[in-house]
Symmetry: C2
Subunit: 430 residues, 2 copies
């Protein structure tokens, strides 16, 4: 504490520890002082644990979010000729939705700035997927980003270090101190970045199920509600869909294989669940910017979404006509019995893809562009014993054994002819 | 985490965060790994907050204590010709009891090794008090300590850095992370040091009231019970007295003035409350080593306790016949009205003495040997308006104003002839 500091970190920690509501001034100070290094990591760790265990009110969480935004720069897209809409997913297995969604919504006349991240653990990263396209680059300057939004309408790129630096520090700290699973901290982390990005409308895809961060519907709904409140409090038109992540999305889990599947969707094909969720999110984004009359399905059918995709990838150096990288080795997993596939566990498939090389265990690890899992059956499908269930892809055949371990117990069969499947969109929170 | 580490700090933190009981192996590992620097300060801070909010069972607290002991050296007094008994106070205002107690119990044939600390904040430190004696030194080698215990029977000296180093790290961390007020952590901190000191019997003086760390009786009783359990689990005969710290002990609060008062007690005089508590603790120490037949009051009366005091101080270089330092300035506070003094707040007097220079705000600050407060009236005494209530002592007269501020509202008078006072010893826990 210097003479200029109006608070002492220990007093702020003790307030939250003893279940008091933190004042606006306390929150502003502790977030700023942590960013400046005046509040030490061990102090913020103790505060984060107290927040995780004792919670924060809506007012506290809003203020915390505002303080994290104030720690860095804010983008401003108000000068664009089109309204802007943004989408954020809490992360899942096979979740390539951003790839077809951004060009599709741009084809409907909306500017879509998607600042994305790389994957860590069993959920893939949008930038990792796009980097499998030869020549494509994730790092754009602010001016390049603005120019591309005006000319192409969509941009998917890396978030710069200047947005919400307090969140970057706190995110890394929470990861090593067992303080990740706090809804106010998760919500403020996501929303501080999204609000700092300056979008006018935001659609959240909050995943629930084994492959998601939130394992049960009630937690996912609470997270969705908290994030919608934060967006609303900050003047951003925000809506959340709570969607199922018990089963992987689509048939491809990995990097290049997910790009391939996304291109199929943009070409008017692709798996039904990926198409359904892409259209549902597109309709929410259009409604949020006052264009409920536009039907995004038309833009898939008429090829205009594909045109934006090609322009978007090319603008960032990507060769849209080059063949995508393929894994050097593959291994087919066959069905052990016959019947209806009733369950295909998203977490197991995500971990298998990760172990095959599609994901990374540490931030500095490389990923394999061609690695992943391609599913040949989804829940509800009939399979016969010995029929291919999935294909494992990797540049390194020694990885198949560990991937197969992850898949043990990952699927169930039933002799009944059909199995009930739950809807993909479970709730909508405004 | 290295390959040799069987646990991950995040998993241990999450276990306690989610209210699970930590295993012996988890506790052993996390305490050892923290001492080795493998578990980071921010990780231990998060764990300490989770422990503070979710608690630890008796088994967990015992194991945590054992792990802190195992992080350093253990002393061994079993080779001495006499049994050993130790006393620990949780700290209070005017608490000079260790000074007359150690030589008194030694005069009864028991070896008394008192490893003590310096003061921080409003409670004084035993070593600070003794250092007001010209020439006296606190730092002894292990061999010097053993030799003095054999020849004199009593030693009061600084605890070496090799005892429970995990506790030293954790104590400093808790201080800056709002995680001090956890009964399992307080109890294990005290008891790890006391058990590592190798005493055969331990008597705890757990203070309760405004001048103490524990402000209410229930908390003090819980802390006392937890510490007695830890001692018992470690095979140390342990008993606790819960004693009042609403009012300062004795009439002197400071350094040299408390030495002076202690010498008066050893000479057969001194304030009644100091004599009462010294004898009560001495009787507990004697009973704990199987000498309930010895009456310590006899050793005050026959001068043998004073003989041990003189030998103990001389053995550590102190000049027992040299005059004690006196403050250069004094300021008398007079009674604002007449009546019976019904309340004299320990915390206020402690803070006043601290501000006068008797204590320190930071570990590296010096203390004034002569500074402090001498009380001329205690609760139950009759006073007349204008009569001296207390004398403030400092080398620096500019400190009187801030000390008087601390004393605002510190005392009450009643026109009634007498006031009820509560007993000094409030509970005894075995």
């Amino acid at each position: 504490m210097t003479d200029a500091d109006p608070f002492d970190a220990v007093d702020v920690i003790i307030s939250k520890r003893d279940k008091a509501e933190l004042s606006d001034a306390q929150i502003d100070w502790v977030v700023d002082a942590y960013t400046r290094g005046v509040v030490a990591h061990e102090q913020m760790a103790a505060l984060a644990m107290a927040i995780l265990l004792n919670g924060m009110t809506r007012r506290e969480t809003s203020r915390w979010t505002a303080a994290m935004i104030a720690s860095g720069d804010r983008m401003d897209f108000s000068g664009l000729s089109r309204p802007t809409a943004d989408k954020h997913s809490t992360g899942g297995v096979g979740d390539k939705i951003t790839l077809p969604l951004a060009p599709l919504v741009a084809a409907c006349g909306v500017a879509v700035p998607q600042l994305s991240g790389r994957g860590l653990g069993h959920t893939g990263g949008t930038l990792d997927k796009l980097e499998s396209i030869p020549g494509w680059r994730a790092d754009l300057s602010y001016d390049e980003m603005l120019g591309q939004l005006e000319s192409v309408g969509a941009v998917i790129c890396a978030a710069g270090a200047s947005l919400a630096p307090a969140d970057k520090l706190l995110y890394a700290l929470r990861d090593v101190t067992g303080t990740v699973e706090s809804i106010p901290l998760i919500a403020s982390s996501v929303m501080s970045k999204k609000i700092a990005e300056g979008t006018g409308a935001l659609v959240l895809d909050v995943k629930v199920g084994s492959g998601a961060f939130m394992k049960d519907l009630a937690s996912a709904q609470e997270l969705a509600r908290t994030m919608v409140e934060l967006g609303t409090d900050a003047g951003v038109s925000t809506v959340a869909l709570v969607t199922d992540m018990g089963t992987p999305l689509g048939q491809a889990v990995g990097n290049a294989v997910e790009v391939q599947e996304s291109v199929e969707v943009l070409a008017g094909g692709g798996p039904a669940d990926v198409v359904e969720l892409t259209l549902a999110l597109a309709r929410e984004m259009l409604a949020a910017v006052g264009r409920p009359d536009v039907d995004p399905a038309d833009r898939l059918a008429d090829g205009s979404a594909m045109d934006v995709w090609r322009a978007m990838i090319s603008a960032q150096g990507g060769d849209v006509d080059a063949p995508l990288p393929e894994a050097r080795e593959q291994h087919v997993v066959v069905a052990p019995g016959s019947g209806t596939l009733t369950r295909l566990d998203a977490l197991s498939v995500g971990v298998a893809a990760w172990r095959l090389g599609a994901g990374r265990a540490r931030k500095e690890d490389p990923v394999q562009a061609g690695a992943g899992v391609v599913l040949h059956a989804k829940p509800g499908d009939q399979v016969r014993a010995g029929q291919p269930l999935m294909t494992l892809l990797s540049d390194d055949s020694t990885r198949f054994a560990r991937a197969e371990e992850a898949l043990e117990g990952a699927y169930d069969f039933s002799p009944q002819a059909d199995a009930s499947t739950q809807p993909l969109v479970l709730d909508r929170i405004t």
